[in-house]
Structures are given as structure tokens and as C-alpha cells.
């Protein structure tokens, strides 16, 4: 919308007695939102078309003969809008009463309870008691396939799910079947949502408990969950997500809106792959010594011993980074390699890869990438080379036989055999799980997963994105940037970085690709790296 010299770019109107100026073309619903007033709505969703069919966002516009749907009525100069007038309130109360005519009111066993818009609106403005005496019609539940379960009785027929499949997934598998009080959402008979790569989003956008996740079914109450802003670790697109945790376990992943990356959506593959964050049997304490000499040690002892071995290490160095680790950890590993007496002979990372990318047709920015790890691009920027074949197989054959110093960061040894690193002069393994290949390690140091630490990833768009800590780490596992940062600091004779932001500041100072970026600038929305640095 360049300046066309015809009309002002903004309009000023009055909502509930308060003057507000919004860009031309803003809906009344958004105008009210901009001043902190939520107009109830079901069918409207910012990522979908607005059919104005739920009739609960009606507001009074002075001069208009009837109440207007605020989701599709555009703000105009001089408009006087009442969202809270008697007429608007009575209308909402009436609409809500209709919504409850056949609603089972099974909130005590409903997964949506606590975050349900029907519950919220009725609690705010509904009638204290229903007046219906007729029996309610009963549908029961319907398995839509995939991870989606449908409770027809709870449905308010907003058709967000139908429109998501039509407009965003471009795979019209859902529809409204029958009509009137018999209307339900359904697929084509036995053909469900199986194989639809983004169908899980219909659960997120359902404003009530009609569409629920089978995986999350009856697992936790919404009010017991802690929400931690994070980044999806399951591919290199890095969708912005929230970790929903309870009892120090991740219960589910939900997308977090970011129009630059993933819109309101995330893919089912990413959504479903969270169990590994809860996997028990972690490395919990540092241990030192090879084979039968292996013994547990505390961090101070382990790091002091390791510092001594590193300063006196013989031979060149091979670094194995992990594209599942944060930029801070990878940068600290690279710095450690530079501080070693020998030169860095190789520094590699691996990435399990999917055969194809899976784009979301209606929101083309969002693509399930081939790299099924979050930080392949960060690892590449920080000087690690991709190892292994195009499909992500192999890559550590050389390192396995390597004669010098080998430092392995992250869970890169799970698929390696017992003879891995048998010839090394020094073998340090920083991981979350023990493995057969770690048997030869001189030092096994427990580190945290991304869910247990703060840090940042670089996604496939070349965007730095921060994630926060959602889980307590097991016992004495520590963030890798802290462990490696302490060693680097000791070798350089400087202070250990005390926090992830500090580690990031050192990283930004050391690597030109990150030049000028600060922790604050990255914020919770991420920040794009300078393009030349990404591709250069």
C-alpha cells in the first residue's frame, strides 16, 4: 500500500467510548483487539478466511440497522462501535444459549477444558442456567485417523478445521455432513486424515473440545501445563513452538505464531516427535577413565583432569559437532578446537535426512525440511562440515579410526560400534545417553538437551531463533556451552560464560556470520542473519 495520494492510510473510530486509530482495512475485531478488548469469536481465525457464520462477534455499530459481525466489518472513519452495549451482550448471551442446546457440558472429562472458548465465553457472559428441557442429541466420537479424534457433541460448527484443510493444507478432506442439529464435521466415510502432513493443526485451531489429539487424550489438564517458548527440534525449519510440560515431562508441542517462519502452524511430524525429550536412562554424572578404569567423578575433578589432558594432548584434533546442539555449544566446541595444541584436522556434523521436503501449500514459507535436526545451518555457519551421504547415512567412519584427539558433542554415537575411537590418543564424549561407542571415551560428560537449557538455533531460512528452558536437567547434566565454555575459558585464561546470552555474545564476536546480533535483538521472534554471511 504505497502512498496513492487519495485516502489516509489510517482511520479513527470510537470503540466503547475510546478513540482508536488503526490502519485502513482493519476489521473491527482487530481494532478492538489493538486496544485490549477481546470480541468473542469462533469461526474467525487470523490464518483463515472469515465466513462470519458463528454470529458471536456481532457488535453494535451506531447507524447500522442491525448488529455487525466484527470479524468482517472494516473499521471506518468516525464509526462509533459498542462491543459491550446491552444489545451486543444480549445477542451474545442468546447465541451462547443456542450453542449450549446440544452441548454435553462434559468439561470435567474434556481435554479442552481450561482453554476452551465456549467455556470462557459462557463463564463470562452466558446464562446462569439453561432453559432447555429437551433431551440433547448425542453423536459420540469419531476417529478421523492420524492423531485427530472428533467429539461431535462438543462441536460449535465454526468450520475452522474444514477451512484449514481447504485453504491452508489444500487437501479438502473435512466437510460438514448433514445439516441443522444433525450436522457434524466428517471425512469421506472411511477415508480419514491419515497421511495428511499438517492435519494436526485442526486440533490447535478448534476453539472447543470437538477436535482433540489422540496422543494427548486425557493426559493432562490444560491448567497444569507450563508453557515454554521454544523451537521445534525435529527439522531445520525451526517452527516456533511452545513446550507444554508437566511433572518435568513434555506433554505436547504446540505451534507459536511467527509469520516469518511458520505462521500459526506446524507439521505433524514435528508435533509427534517429543517423546525423546522425556526419555529416561540419561547420563547423569561425569565419568572418567577408559574401559575398566571408568569411574564416576564430580564436575570439578572431571574438568580439571580434562583440562590437564587437553593442554598436553598430542596429535591433531577431530571435532564431531551435533546439529541438535545450540549455536552456543557448537561455537564453544569450535573455540576449544582452536585452543588445542594440535591443529583441527576435521570438524564435522551429521544430519539424518528425509527423502523429500514437505511444504504447506497454503503457507509456502513453512516447509518440513530434509534435515531432521534443528541446527544443521548453524553448525555449517560455525565451521562444521556436513559428513555422510545425501540421505544422512554414515559420516563418522574416518573419525572412528582417528588417531589423534576426538571430541564428540551430542548424541552422535548411538549408531556407532564398540570399536569407535579405539585408536584415539584422547576421546571426550559430551552426550545425553551412554552408548556402546562411548566405552572407549576417556571422559563421558553429561549434557542437557535443548529442552533443558537456553540457547539458539539457526534455521534453514538463516534465522537465529532462541529457545528457553522447559525441563529440569537430570541430576548433574549441564549445558554443553557451559562445559565447553569453561574449558575454553580455562585454556585462554578468561572468565567462564555464566549464561547462554553471554555465550551467545562471545559467539557473535568470534563468528562474522553472527556479527552485530545481540541476544535481545534475536528476542522471541528470531532475527535473520545477514544474507551474504549465510550464503557466503
Amino acid at each position: 500500500m504505497a502512498d496513492n495520494g487519495r485516502k489516509a492510510e489510517t482511520v479513527t473510530l470510537t470503540i466503547d467510548g475510546q478513540e482508536v486509530t488503526v490502519p485502513r482495512g482493519t476489521s473491527l475485531l482487530h481494532a478492538a483487539e489493538s486496544m485490549g478488548t477481546e470480541v468473542p469469536h469462533y469461526c474467525y481465525h487470523p490464518g483463515l478466511s472469515a465466513p462470519a457464520q458463528c454470529r458471536i462477534c456481532l457488535v453494535e455499530v451506531e447507524g447500522a440497522p442491525k448488529l455487525q459481525p466484527s470479524c468482517v466489518t472494516m473499521a471506518a472513519d468516525g464509526q462509533v462501535v459498542h462491543t459491550d452495549s446491552t444489545a451486543a451482550k444480549r445477542m451474545r448471551q442468546g447465541v451462547l444459549e443456542f450453542y449450549l442446546v446440544n452441548h454435553p457440558l462434559d468439561c470435567p472429562i474434556c481435554d479442552m477444558s481450561g482453554e476452551c472458548k465456549l467455556q470462557d465465553y459462557v463463564f463470562d457472559e452466558g446464562r446462569e442456567q439453561g432453559r432447555g428441557r429437551e433431551p440433547k442429541r448425542i453423536f459420540g466420537r469419531d476417529d478421523f485417523g492420524g492423531d485427530v479424534l472428533y467429539y461431535g457433541d462438543r462441536c460449535v460448527m465454526c468450520t475452522r478445521c474444514v477451512r484449514f484443510m481447504d485453504e491452508v493444507a489444500r487437501d479438502s478432506r473435512l466437510t460438514v455432513v448433514e445439516r441443522g442439529s444433525r450436522a457434524v464435521i466428517d471425512t469421506f466415510f472411511d477415508r480419514g486424515l491419515e497421511g495428511a502432513a499438517f492435519a494436526g493443526n485442526v486440533v490447535d485451531i478448534c476453539p472447543v473440545g470437538a477436535l482433540v489429539s489422540k496422543d494427548f487424550l486425557h493426559k493432562a489438564r490444560a491448567w497444569d501445563l507450563d508453557h515454554t517458548p521454544s523451537i521445534c527440534p525435529n527439522c531445520s525449519h525451526g517452527c516456533n513452538i511452545e513446550l507444554h510440560t508437566r511433572d518435568n515431562l513434555v506433554q505436547r508441542l504446540k505451534p507459536r505464531e511467527n509469520q516469518e517462519v511458520n505462521g500459526h502452524w506446524m507439521c505433524d511430524y514435528g508435533r509427534a516427535n517429543y517423546e525423546w525429550m522425556n526419555r529416561p536412562g540419561r547420563l547423569e554424572a561425569p565419568s572418567v577413565g577408559r574401559g575398566s578404569d571408568r569411574r564416576a567423578a564430580d564436575w570439578r575433578e572431571a574438568l580439571e583432569l580434562l583440562f590437564g589432558r587437553l593442554s598436553a594432548a598430542e596429535g591433531d584434533v577431530a571435532l564431531v559437532g551435533s546439529a541438535g546442539c545450540s549455536n552456543e555449544a557448537l561455537a564453544a566446541l569450535a573455540a576449544l578446537g582452536d585452543e588445542m595444541p594440535g591443529r583441527v584436522a576435521q570438524s564435522v556434523f551429521r544430519s539424518p535426512r528425509a527423502p523429500d521436503e514437505v511444504p504447506l501449500p497454503g503457507f509456502p514459507l513453512l516447509v518440513r525440511r530434509r534435515d531432521l535436526v534443528p541446527n544443521a545451518d548453524g553448525a555449517a555457519l560455525l565451521g562444521f562440515e556436513r559428513a555422510g551421504s545425501d540421505d544422512g547415512e554414515g559420516g563418522l567412519e574416518e573419525v572412528a579410526e582417528y588417531g589423534g584427539v576426538v571430541i564428540v558433542l551430542g548424541d552422535e554415537l548411538a549408531d556407532q560400534g564398540e570399536d569407535f575411537g579405539a585408536n584415539n590418543s584422547l576421546f571426550v564424549y559430551l552426550g545425553t545417553f551412554d552408548s556402546a561407542a562411548a566405552a572407549n571415551a576417556d571422559f563421558v560428560l553429561p549434557i542437557t538437551t535443548f529442552a533443558e537449557e537456553e540457547g539458539s538455533f539457526v534455521n534453514a531460512q538463516g534465522r537465529v531463533q532462541r529457545f528457553q528452558q522447559g525441563l529440569r536437567p537430570p541430576d548433574s547434566a549441564r549445558p554443553a556451552w557451559l562445559v565447553l565454555g569453561a574449558l575454553v575459558a580455562a585454556l585462554r585464561g578468561e572468565e567462564t560464560p555464566g549464561s547462554a546470552p553471554e555465550a551467545f555474545a562471545r559467539l557473535a564476536a568470534a563468528h562474522p556470520a553472527f556479527e552485530g546480533l545481540t541476544w535481545e535483538a534475536v528476542g522471541d521472534r528470531g532475527a535473520a542473519l545477514v544474507a551474504e554471511a549465510v550464503h557466503g
Partner: protein
Amino acid sequence: MSEVRFRNPGWAGNTGEFDLSEADVRGTEYVGERMLDGGHPSVAPSLPYMFVRKEPDAPLFEGPYRERFDKIRSRYPTARAALLPALNLAQELRGHISPETMDEVAGLLGLSDAYVRGVATFYTMYNKRPVGRFLIQVCTNISCNLCGADDVLAAFLEHTGTELGETSSDGNFTVVEAECLAACGFPTCVQINSRYFEDVSVDDVPAVLDRLKREVNKGF
């Protein structure tokens, strides 16, 4: 109460004054024979498509039906717009819209199967299950109800020996309730396939059914 002057005429427009058959008034094409070419495009949508003879296994679409389908497709700007008449045509041919029929029509028009299911189930005039040769729709809405539609409905069920919505064992009759058929001046109104029977009383029911059975015997 005086005696009812006008007995059931059996079809709309018969005032009892003239000895005219329905075919005399509306033309043999309309009352009897199936027009495979579908008639002139301007009137084709209003022509009856629920015939006595049904071929549930007939292919979609061949011969004259293929021509009519192509004509339908050419008359509408989008595939979605052509869906209703396409389903009409499929029901005319097969007698009901089965899931398989929905799927085939979706394929023919390039629409999603779920969307076609949504449309077909929205409209009550698409039979989602097989029906008898005669689909007897008894209006039980307010005007007819006041004039004894419930009894008429019960009489139809009794004389055909079926349950509501079920098909009689000889495959001839399916009796269903209908909402207002827009013939409130002539209660009780009964729509049988595409024809209206007005002013139907309980006593008329055996005669109506006899007439239908004669049509079956004539070989439709």
C-alpha cells in the same frame, strides 16, 4: 360438518370438472417416459428425475447420460456449481446417491470426495440409501398435520407393510415423512416420486397404492 365436496383428485390441477388424464394435461413425456436426453436445457432442472425404474449399478455416465452430463458441465462456470445437477443426474439414473456414487461424481467433476459428501448429505432430496420404486413422502408439517397427516402417514405405513424409511419387501414402496411440500392449500399433500397427490385422506390411501401398483405392472 358438511360432506367434503372434492374427493382426492390424485394430482395437482384436477378440479374434477373435466375428464382429463394427467397425461392429457401435462403431456406423456412428463408423466411417463424417461427422457434420456433430459429435455430442453431451460426446463431440464425442473423435470422429474425420480423414476420408477432404477439402475443402481449403471455406470456414471454413458450414452445419453454422458451427453447430459457434458451439457451440465458446460452450463456452469465451475465444477462446484455443476455439482447439484450432476448429483441429480446420478440419482435419476441410480435411484440413490451411495458413497460410491459420491466418489465417482467427485472424480468426474474434480472435487474432493468429502466436499461432495457434505453437499449430498445437506440436501434431503438426495436419497442416501436405496429406496423403493415409489418414494412416498407424506407431508407432516403444520397445515397437513392439522388435517390429519399423521393418520395418512400411518395408513401408508400400514398398507405398504413397512416401517418409516424402510423399503417394502417387494421393493415397491418407501414411506418417509417430509417437511412442508408447499401445498398447504391441499392438505394432506403426498409427494410420490416426482408427483404430488393432494387432499389425500386416510380412505384414499389404498386407491393411491393400487394405482402405483398398476404402474409397476405396466412395466416401468
